[in-house]
């Protein structure tokens, strides 16, 4: 005689975690239903038969150690010299951290070298006074510097004006010299032109005199003939 609950119940029977209430109900049904209990018995028998497997020892093999050693040897050789100094960055970081945490400081003054951990009120007040003194010195130096810059600017202006004046004078003198030489040249050219003109005039007068002489001679000749 079959049971409609068999599949569902037996599937649940093999679950990993079963609520106690469900487990009780299941046990109750199995104690009452011969079909389900027989079915479960056979399933457990099948499971039991599988569990009879006898574990075999693994044959000898190198467990990949040859490959493992080869690859890791290559890696460790590749790092070479620096692999021995890998701790150095960590140590340096640690030292820096200590310096920051303990407020470590080294001060050199007239009394010598002073190494201190943490801040002190005395040192902070002396730092304040030194700072104020330094500020005053800075202000004085700044004022002196401004005065020097102003002086320098004034003298620069004077020099510039002198240079401009000299340049102007020089250029004016040069201009006068040029004008003078120009007029001189023009005068010489005019004189030359006048001389040429007079020479031409003299030549034309001479020609006129010669023509008059020739005319006189001709007239005298004609009168002799008559």
């Amino acid at each position: 005689m079959s049971c409609p609950k068999t599949q569902h119940l037996l599937q649940e029977y093999f679950s990993d975690e079963l609520a106690p209430v469900v487990r009780d109900e299941l046990d109750k049904h199995l104690s009452e239903c011969s079909h389900c209990s027989t079915e479960l018995e056979l399933l457990l028998m099948a499971q039991g038969n599988l569990q009879q497997w006898q574990e075999k020892q693994v044959p000898h093999w190198d467990r990949g150690l040859t490959l493992f050693r080869q690859e890791h040897k290559t890696i460790s050789n590749a790092s070479g010299f620096w692999s021995r100094w890998q701790w150095l960055p960590t140590a340096a970081s640690f030292v820096m951290l200590c310096v920051l945490v303990f407020n470590f400081s080294i001060v050199t003054d007239d009394n010598g070298l002073t190494i201190s951990f943490g801040g002190s009120p005395t040192s902070s007040s002396s730092i304040q006074s030194q700072l104020a003194e330094f500020q005053q010195l800075q202000n004085a130096e700044m004022q002196a510097l401004v005065a020097r810059i102003e002086d320098r600017a004034d003298s620069n202006n004077v020099q510039l004006m002198q240079a401009v004046l000299e340049q102007t004078q020089r250029s004016t003198a040069e201009s006068f010299d040029q004008i003078y030489s120009y007029f001189e040249q023009q005068r010489l050219l005019d004189l030359q032109d006048m001389r040429v003109g007079y020479e031409q005039l003299a030549d034309s007068d001479y020609k006129t005199i010669r023509s008059l002489q020739q005319l006189v001679n001709f007239v005298g000749y004609q009168s002799d003939i008559r």
Binding site: D16, L42, A46, N49, L50, Q52, E55, K56, V58, R63
Partner: protein, 193 residues
């Protein structure tokens, strides 16, 4: 230190180059992986090949193991994938187990031990294993995986579901179907005998 913590410590040490840690890690799992190979392939040579492929895969991917899952789940996922690959090449799961190979290879490869001097005991063990292999050969690939992980590796249905990318209910149903099929085989054997 729990077994899971030990696994993680060994993985970390192996990643740092400790050959000792790697050797210990392999020793912890080689028996389970090798015997799983024997049950899946049915012969010692293929089981050995499969186990070596699994550990090579583990070695190559060890840096990817994040520790958010159990190492055993992770290694059996690799074993599952490698077995699927090998089955594509050799089709050992659909074939009948080669019982003679299993017998021959074990005699040659085993460590020297007590059982070498007790042939009757070995024969008995071999018969039991052959019987298990015969039963497993009746199952489908999916049923075989679930039975393997549930009965022999003691995984929960949730773990099986995660490993095989199926639901826990599907895993449970496959397991029940497998047992039902084996029950029928047993009944038939009883009738024949």
């Amino acid at each position: 230190m729990s077994s899971i913590d030990e696994d993680q410590a060994l993985v970390a040490a192996a990643l740092n180059g400790s050959a000792y840690a790697w050797d210990k890690l392999v020793k912890r799992y080689e028996g389970r992986i090798y015997n799983q190979g024997l049950r899946l392939t049915g012969n010692a040579t293929d089981a050995m090949d499969l186990m070596q492929e699994v550990f090579l895969g583990v070695y190559r991917n060890l840096h990817r193991f994040r520790g958010d899952a159990k190492f055993s789940s992770w290694i059996f996922r690799i074993a599952h994938n490698k077995a699927v690959d090998m089955n594509r090449r050799k089709r050992f799961i659909t074939a009948q187990p080669r019982l003679s190979n299993l017998d021959e290879d074990n005699g040659m490869d085993n460590f020297p031990g007590e059982e070498r001097f007790e042939p009757d005991a070995r024969l008995g063990e071999q018969q039991l294993n052959d019987s298990v292999l015969n039963m497993l050969s009746e199952l489908s690939l999916e049923q075989r995986w679930v039975v393997e992980l549930k009965i022999f590796q003691s995984f929960t249905f949730d773990e099986i579901a995660e490993l095989q990318d199926i639901s826990a209910n599907t895993a449970k149903t496959r397991f029940y179907s497998a047992l039902k099929k084996l029950k029928v085989v047993l009944e038939e054997d009883n009738v024949l005998s």
